[in-house]
């Protein structure tokens, strides 16, 4: 602990213990269930690629066929590799095509056949994981060659035209203008698609579809930019929604560097079934851990629905839960881009000091995590001049409190999707503040017992109280009863529930086995 807030270490330890207690039943739940998306991710690792003429991926067709014959609860890997042996073919995609045509039946193998099927499945999935390992090693090599950004926070910029071939020059221009991290916003509603679209895409709603080919094209373009600029430019996308495990897998295979991945966002904001979310989340985080991907959590979203002063402690609670789930899934501290945001109403007296207190609290609670600092959105209006000033203060708080990743705020937030000039003005704002005050965090030590310290203590105390309440009833009940935001999300409702199954006694997943085996 760096100790600028004089936090009580016993209280901090208690907060972590309460988060662990609240989260553990959810982990147990995740360990005893699987989902169609987890199983599809396993088959993607095993080499199933491509889509049918209607654009439905072969992994979907294959998992659906297996589920129709033997159900989901055994895990599909053994049944798929058993069928492969019986059909005497080696190409899993070909098997998926045959299964879709109805010419293959599946069974749950037993005895020697089960052993053989598992051996073959494990070999195929291990090859997929080795590809992820190679991409990680490649990233490490490129970072060594080109270097990390010269400054912290890293500057994170969004592109979102809907057309990957428009996104690419925009992303490269943004990198040239100083962006260290490029995020490609997904098309509206992709999170609720129960399949991953295929191929390069040129149309989307307020964003670009996340596909493996789009990932590959953008990574290739940013590798060229990294070479040109002499610093490694990172790429971000979304492991959220119904296909979270597959997104994580594709990100690992295509060397994406960061993924948005929150433990509760889909439940609260997209009404995705809680069990589906927690199962998918655990698997996706295990893949992220292996791939060396930094996750970005979504606490900023709470503050867009709730009051940023009154509900500040819910951010802290969510950060602690996200940290617990992330550690449990094998992520290291350097991979935890825990989120928070500059969303206090600027008309509130002392709003800047409150923001400093909240941002510093996150910094001190998670000293080794590269915190993701999100710009104002809720109180941005069409008044672009005021918006630019607000973004300047946001940048200032970011540098004074040592945030790791700074999402660049746009003065035209709530007006238009950013124009070229908006992005340029926004980056100018960031460069000015980082240039003028980049070292100010060294001098910024809040007065002992003063406003900022008191505020931080209060938020932490409120967070502990909320965690105590959650602990009394379990996290699932708390979510069902609306403890976060105001949304009530019972575990037997929500989208994607029909793609969840409890493990049968013989449930087997070679990917989980390998990913968990890798952990010391």
């Amino acid at each position: 602990m760096t100790g600028k807030l004089d936090l009580d270490p016993a209280l901090v330890a208690r907060a972590r213990e309460l988060a662990r207690r609240a989260g553990q039943p959810v982990v147990d739940l995740a360990r005893s269930h699987t989902t169609v998306s987890v199983e599809r991710a396993v088959l993607r690792l095993a080499g199933v690629t491509g889509a049918d003429p209607d654009g439905i991926p072969w992994v979907n067709r294959l998992v659906d066929a297996v589920v129709a014959d033997v159900g989901l609860g055994h895990g599909v890997a053994a049944a798929v590799f058993d069928a492969l042996a019986r059909e005497q073919i080696t190409d899993v995609t070909l098997l998926a095509q045959k299964a879709a045509a109805g010419s293959v039946r599946f069974r749950q193998p037993v005895g020697k056949e089960a052993t053989a099927a598992r051996r073959a499945a494990r070999r195929a999935v291990a090859a997929g994981i080795r590809r992820i390992d190679r991409r990680r090693a490649e990233r490490e090599r490129l970072i060594k060659r080109y270097g990390d950004p010269a400054q912290r926070p890293w500057i994170y910029l969004i592109v979102a035209t809907g057309d990957i071939y428009e996104d690419i020059p925009q992303a490269q221009a943004a990198a040239r203008a100083g962006a260290d991290v490029i995020a490609v916003i997904r098309s509206t509603g992709q999170s609720l698609l129960d399949y991953v679209p295929e191929g390069a895409t040129r149309e989307g709603f307020a964003g670009t579809y996340a596909t493996q080919e789009n990932f590959r094209l953008m990574r290739e373009a940013l590798d060229a930019s990294s070479r040109e600029l002499g610093r490694y430019v990172r790429l971000t996308n979304y492991a959220s929604g119904l296909c979270m495990p597959e997104m994580a897998t594709l990100a690992g295979l295509e060397r994406l560097d960061m993924m948005l991945n929150d433990s509760m966002y889909g439940i609260l904001f997209r009404d995705i079934n809680p069990i589906r979310t927690f199962v998918d989340q655990r698997f996706s985080r295990q893949v992220h851990a292996r791939a060396g991907i930094i996750i970005n959590t979504g606490e900023d979203n709470y503050l867009t629905t709730a009051d940023a002063v009154e509900e500040a402690h819910t951010v802290t609670v969510s950060q602690l839960l996200n940290e617990f789930f992330a550690h449990e899934a094998g992520l290291a501290d350097w991979q935890l881009g825990l989120g928070h945001a500059f969303e206090i109403n600027p008309d509130v007296p002392e709003s800047l000091r409150l923001e400093l207190a909240h941002a510093l609290l996150a910094r001190e609670l998670f000293p080794d995590a590269p915190l993701k600092w999100m710009p104002p959105t809720k109180h941005m209006t069409g008044d672009v001049f005021r918006g630019n000033l607000l973004d300047g203060f946001f940048n200032l708080v970011g540098t004074m409190t040592g945030q790791g990743i700074l999402l660049v705020g746009m003065m035209t937030e709530a007006v238009v999707t950013p124009w070229l000039s908006d992005r340029d003005i926004a980056l100018q704002n960031v460069r000015y503040v980082l240039g003028a005050a980049g070292g100010l965090h060294e001098d910024f030590v809040p007065a002992p017992g003063g406003f900022i310290q008191q505020r931080a203590h209060r938020v932490l105390a409120e967070a502990v109280r909320l965690l105590e309440r959650i602990g009394e009833q379990s996290l699932l009940t708390a979510i069902a009863e609306g403890a976060f935001g105001i949304m009530k999300r019972p575990p037997d409702r929500g989208k994607g529930l029909d793609g969840v199954a409890r493990h049968e006694d013989d449930y087997w997943n070679p990917a989980t086995e390998i990913l968990e085996g890798a952990r010391a």
Binding site: T188, D271, T304
Partner: protein, 253 residues
């Protein structure tokens, strides 16, 4: 409607009445040089700014330049001739919607939403209903006093009618994106007919359809109470619900 209003001419105001001063910023797809600056002044001139003062020019990337221009416009504005299309219901904040439902309805207002027919595009209904919302505005789930049931995609009309009955729906929201062979119109007619058949006039929920290709004036023809087109926000829908079901209830019957 504004015939009696006295003619009133105004010009933009910088620091003196009638000076006509405006500020303007834009980007041209050219690198920054003397010619680019001349092009910016030419554009400003064509927009009626004369004289135009180019106060700032900065190159962005390889081939673009950002300009800020101040200057006097020669246009006059006749305030009395301004035509305003008024929305036929007031736009309310989430707080106002909640307060009105609580005070006047004294129970939660039940909303059932779905994509009907084969349409699997839930983008529209989710933008309106999901807490996530659209364009920075929260969806109807966010409203404390609304009880939202989102049935999702590919819901059959009988299922929708049944769900509306079970949830005692005050309003039914249907989203239609696919328009091949006028599917959105057929589906909507089928839906409104089914509700007419299943429930007596006084008990029928308010029927609302939305989608990017609807003509907002076709409500009567399709047998629904309201049509919302492209760009509708959750706040508009919530405000309309309060208007139609609470504040202007009698007018509807």
């Amino acid at each position: 409607m504004t015939g009696a209003v006295e003619k009133k001419i105004v010009r933009p105001y910088g620091d003196t009445t009638g000076d006509g001063m405006v500020q303007l910023s834009f980007t041209l797809p050219v690198p920054h040089d003397k010619r680019a600056e001349g092009a910016a002044i030419q554009l400003a001139g064509k927009m009626g700014i004369d004289p135009a003062m180019l106060v700032h020019a900065k190159q962005i990337g390889d081939g673009y330049t950002f300009f800020v221009v101040y200057g006097r416009v020669n246009h006059l504005v006749d305030v009395s001739a301004v035509q305003v299309v008024e929305r036929d219901y007031p736009l309310l904040s989430a707080k106002e919607v909640n307060a009105l439902v609580k005070q006047k309805l004294r129970r939660k207002l039940s909303v059932v939403g779905a994509c009907i027919g084969t349409d699997a595009h839930t983008v529209g209904i989710d933008a309106i209903l999901n807490v996530k919302g659209i364009a920075g505005e929260k969806g109807l789930e966010y409203y404390r006093e609304l009880k939202v049931t989102n049935l999702g995609a590919q819901v059959s009309v009988p299922e929708l009618v049944e769900a509306a009955r079970v949830e005692k729906a005050d309003a039914v929201l249907v989203s239609q994106v696919v328009t091949q062979r006028d599917a959105h119109l057929h589906n909507t007619r089928e839906m409104s007919a089914a509700f007419r058949e299943a429930m007596p006039a006084g008990k029928r929920p308010l029927l609302i359809v939305g989608g990017p290709r609807f003509d907002e004036t076709m409500a009567e023809e399709l047998g629904v109470d309201r049509i919302f087109g492209r760009g509708t926000t959750p706040g508009e829908v919530a405000s309309y619900l309060v208007h139609a079901l609470i504040t202007n209830r009698r007018a509807r019957a």
